[in-house]
Subunit: 136 residues, 4 copies
């Protein structure tokens, strides 16, 4: 595994805004894929007790970036230029979501990643996002 | 002001994932506009000490929802179907951002909002987002 | 197959802006999937002789709508609220693209579809889009 | 005006997929702004006789690219990485739309543009899009 990625994983979820994803657990990062598990505790809920839309977008960013780093020869995290999310089904307060990021293209200067969120109990698709990063 | 909006504002930023936007200050909500100020403290930074992409997306959701509630006759917050963000310039750790949400269309069943983030000191556009909500 | 979908397929690509996708061939529509083939002729190229970005977005709309109709019990085409596209690799003037649309969620009032474009000769991912439609 | 932009304008709307926007009239291109007028004739309509979603996305691409060229010192058109559109109100078959593209950021390697479509008769916002281009 690349050193930059190893360094990032050594304090995964422990600094800055990454801490907002309370309870996030890293399952796998390798070869352009990253998988994370998040219980929908109070800290990531919206006013209706569901997983907050902002937390979903933050997962797209955080988990997508790990996948991109794992696909790049130099482990570059890059800088986001674009991100989008669509929501299909709610993730209620007593559920857990599985987040899976898959790199769509990893080039010299740009990388693209797709991120799917599913409810762990029934596999229902909660949301899908896509992110574009400039690797410089 | 609508009762639902008043109720939401009475505990603005105090519950669930809204708390992740540490230091957020509400400047104005009225007639399809909402304005918020956020100092880029450690709690909303990424690994490079800049405003985290996830915090930007969360601001689009949170401030955009206030603007939508203020434009709707019944103050409905709705449910997000789509959100996108593009990033233009970084907001470094010692800066402050001004977030301005403007409703583009408020209909019977759907509402759309544009959200601009600017650095307070020089007015540079940091990011722009758009969100679509289903009002039911 | 639903009557509305049958009716639409009977004059597929023959009216209005659908005609702009010159040479488009329908391969399959069924159960929330739709597949189309398009040779990159002069009529769909940009100034560099590649598949035009607007043609890609139009394919996302047209092929995505067929998939959505095929997933809905009443064959409703709906009205687009949001569409996005990311581009990964060019489709040059002498190539052919395969377009595959897959419904992500088909509900009572909203439907979501993902659309992938690949080069036929080497399978490379050219672009990916997502569309949200309000079914009313 | 830059030579590359002058060259492109000399055959504006006359080659490839640009021809799909039948009746498009260029009103202005200068300093990061571009304005175009399009009557909603049969050639740009969908099955309901409204302006086709694909035509809207193509306008975002075409008019947005002109604005980006006019903002760049070397008149570079770039290559699209991301495009999104939201739809607010229909543009019926006997109407005309005004398209206005405004560059949000024009940098060394990336450019971003916002594109608004309005009905000419009543000024209603029909759609809004955003596009990101890699300038190389």
């Amino acid at each position: 595994m690349d050193d930059k990625l190893k360094e990032r994983l050594s304090h995964f979820g422990q600094g800055g805004y990454d801490r907002s994803l309370t309870g996030m657990e890293l399952l796998e990062v390798s070869g352009g894929k990253a998988r994370v598990r998040l219980p929908v505790g109070e800290a990531v809920q919206n006013a209706n007790g569901m997983l907050h839309g902002g937390a979903v977008a933050t997962l797209v960013d955080v988990v997508g970036t790990l996948a991109i780093m794992s696909a790049d020869r130099d482990g570059r995290p890059g800088v986001s230029t674009d991100l989008n999310v669509s929501w299909f089904s709610p993730a209620p307060g007593d559920s857990t979501v599985l987040v899976e990021a898959t790199v769509l293209k990893s080039g010299r200067t740009l990388a693209f990643v797709q991120v799917d969120l599913r409810r762990e109990n029934d596999g229902a698709l909660v949301a899908q996002g896509r992110m574009t990063k400039f690797l410089g």
